[in-house]
Amino acid sequence: MSRGVRRLAPALGLVPFFGYLTIFLIIPTIAVVVGAFVEKDQASLSNIKALGDNVVLRTLWHSIVLSAESAIIGAVLGALLAYAVVTGKPDGLLRRTVTSACGVLAQFGGVTLAFAFIATLGFSGVVTEAGRDVFGIDLFGSGWLFGLKGLTLVYTYFQIPLMVIVFLPSLDGMRVQWREAAESLGATTWQFWRYVAGPLLLPAFLGSTLLLFANAFAAYATAAALVSQGSPILPLLIRNALTSEIVLGQSHLAFALALDMIVVVVIVMTLYALLLRRTSRWLR
């Protein structure tokens, strides 16, 4: 075997990965970017211009608000849960239960999740019925579950466990010695958190929040199963542009909308990468 071949051999192992990446990420991205600048088989900026339309802007805003809200709620509650877990025994029952439950629940989405909420908080959901019969309160209202507020609640359901999973390693990286050192220098608990743990964990916390934001921003199946009236968020507006039997010929607008989403996600993920670099410097 010549030296060149031997050097190439490890790269060979990566071929399936790059092949996969090419087919499922690179080619679709190129197709979306190119498609966004085409209309009626000709180069055109009309779909890019349509992104400035009021309906599109408002939908983009809704998408950002929904993702931010569910990310912040998920990050705060998830971080608290993760902290509670870390303070327990490293191989205790609590930790093992919470981490495995989070591993499952973070992936619980789509139709099943939407159905779970409809079955509990829908018009004849278990909780709604109980609220009506036992407490005489109307939890259902005019169907808030099927709008933006409902989506925020439902998304939080998978955001919290995801936060636990991504934030736990950072908390694990905190060394007991740091706390001991701070205390032996006379730091109070507040001072320890304010000057040592806080600054150390903040980049990881913000980074995880951004990851959660991107996770919610790109989610489609849950919203598609829950929302049937209107297209309050971008992924649903894309669905509308592709499948509407009323307003036709919007398939390239769908590309432009997808491009819109790619831009937002690229910004968020760039920030995430920067924060991650900062975090990893400390928590090795």
Partner: protein
């Protein structure tokens, strides 16, 4: 019915003879592909040698791909079963809950494969925007279909239709007589529309109905959007997509939808009543067409023959839909009068939108519906 059979028999025997003659001349190994291309370009059963030859060609293909035909919609469940049984052809029903545009998308993405849809059942705007994808075909009963419900060449033919209606559960809400009743406090969180009107034909027609009932017209859909804004403001508009399951479980006590889909519920839920609001009868017919790239061209054509036969048309009626040949069948005495009598009563001149009116209304809706749906 008898008359058609005898005619068909005559045609078959004539064509069988000519076919036999043709078969003698042609190279034998090409026969198979010949019969497929022949079916793909046939514009009537005659082109293939009559009904019998069509049936044989279809049976040879053995399968038929249909798409977006919900079993509870216009009786499609029974129709698919009856067709499969009558001709011993396997019907593959894909994505029963898909929308019209999905049918066209599927035909484009699956083009050239065995799984592509053979036939379409489309809403008006999607059908008229895609006539290039259709194979013209005239069924045996083509002449008894009124002019306004078909393309002169048979590129598309309306199959069944109905009127926009309000279905409601008499056990859960008070009697509905007009659209504006729905604004009352007793209907809080109870009124559902079948789909998003910027996406689905039924919901779109629902907004047109609301418009007509509130001083609008086929040219002016704005009062309809205003009505739904008021409905939403009153807290009555329920943003749930109604399905038989939501109706039967009581989640959607009032549903604005085609009268045939609403009427189909009464069979399962006896307290379910259907009204077509007086003076606001908005009609709509579906468009039936053959995919010109159909993987089973003969079966696709046989399916059309079946749908427009007296049997097929009465099956639509069984699902509460108004078959397109209803008038002709009524005068022939082949219409199932018992079923026809059960259809909700329509008072006032029906409103049917033209293609241009639909487009104007759709443009208005795409810009303004977000006021209602948020």
């Amino acid at each position: 019915m008898k008359r058609t059979t005898r005619n068909a028999a005559l045609v078959i025997s004539v064509v069988a003879i000519s076919l036999g003659a043709a078969a003698c001349g042609g190279p034998p190994d090409k026969k198979d592909s010949d019969s497929t291309t022949k079916a793909a370009s046939a514009t009537s059963a005659k082109d293939l040698g009559g009904m019998k030859a069509l049936v044989e060609a279809a049976q040879k293909e053995g399968e038929l791909n249909v798409i977006a035909l919900p079993p509870t919609w216009a009786n499609y469940g029974e129709i698919i079963k009856a067709f499969g049984k009558k001709y011993d052809i396997k019907v593959n029903s894909a994505q029963p809950d898909a929308a019209s545009q999905d049918e066209i998308n599927a035909a484009n993405t699956l083009k050239g494969t065995k799984r592509a849809p053979d036939v379409f059942d489309l809403g008006q705007s999607v059908a008229l925007a895609n006539t290039k994808m259709f194979a013209p075909y005239k069924v045996a009963t083509f002449d008894s279909i009124p002019e306004e419900f078909k393309d002169a060449n048979g590129t598309w033919v309306n199959d069944y239709g109905g009127y926009m209606s309000i279905g409601f559960d008499t056990k859960k809400v008070p009697e509905v007589t007009s659209l504006n009743d729905l604004l009352g406090a007793k209907y809080k969180g109870k009124v559902a529309l079948n789909g998003d009107p910027t996406q689905a034909g039924a919901a779109f027609s629902g907004v047109v109905m609301a418009s007509v009932a509130n001083g609008g017209s086929a040219d002016d859909i704005a009062p309809g959007v205003n009505f739904f804004q008021k409905l939403k403001k009153a807290g009555n508009f329920l943003p749930v997509d109604p399905t038989p399951a939501t109706i039967e479980s009581g989640q959607t006590p009032v549903v604005i939808d085609w009268d045939y889909t609403n009427a189909a519920e009464t069979a399962k839920l006896p307290s379910w009543k259907v009204v077509v609001p007086e003076g606001a009868a908005v009609g709509g017919y579906y468009y039936q067409a053959i995919n010109k790239d159909a993987p089973h061209p003969a079966a696709a054509r046989l399916w059309q023959e079946f749908l427009y036969s007296d049997e097929g048309q009465n099956l639509f009626l069984g699902g509460g839909a108004r078959p397109v040949r209803a008038d002709a069948m009524k005068s022939d005495g082949t219409l199932d009068e018992a079923l026809f009598g059960k259809l909700p009563e329509v008072k006032g001149a029906p409103v049917l939108l033209t293609e241009a009116q639909t487009k104007t209304a759709a443009d208005y809706l795409s810009k303004n519906w977000s006021k209602v749906a948020g």
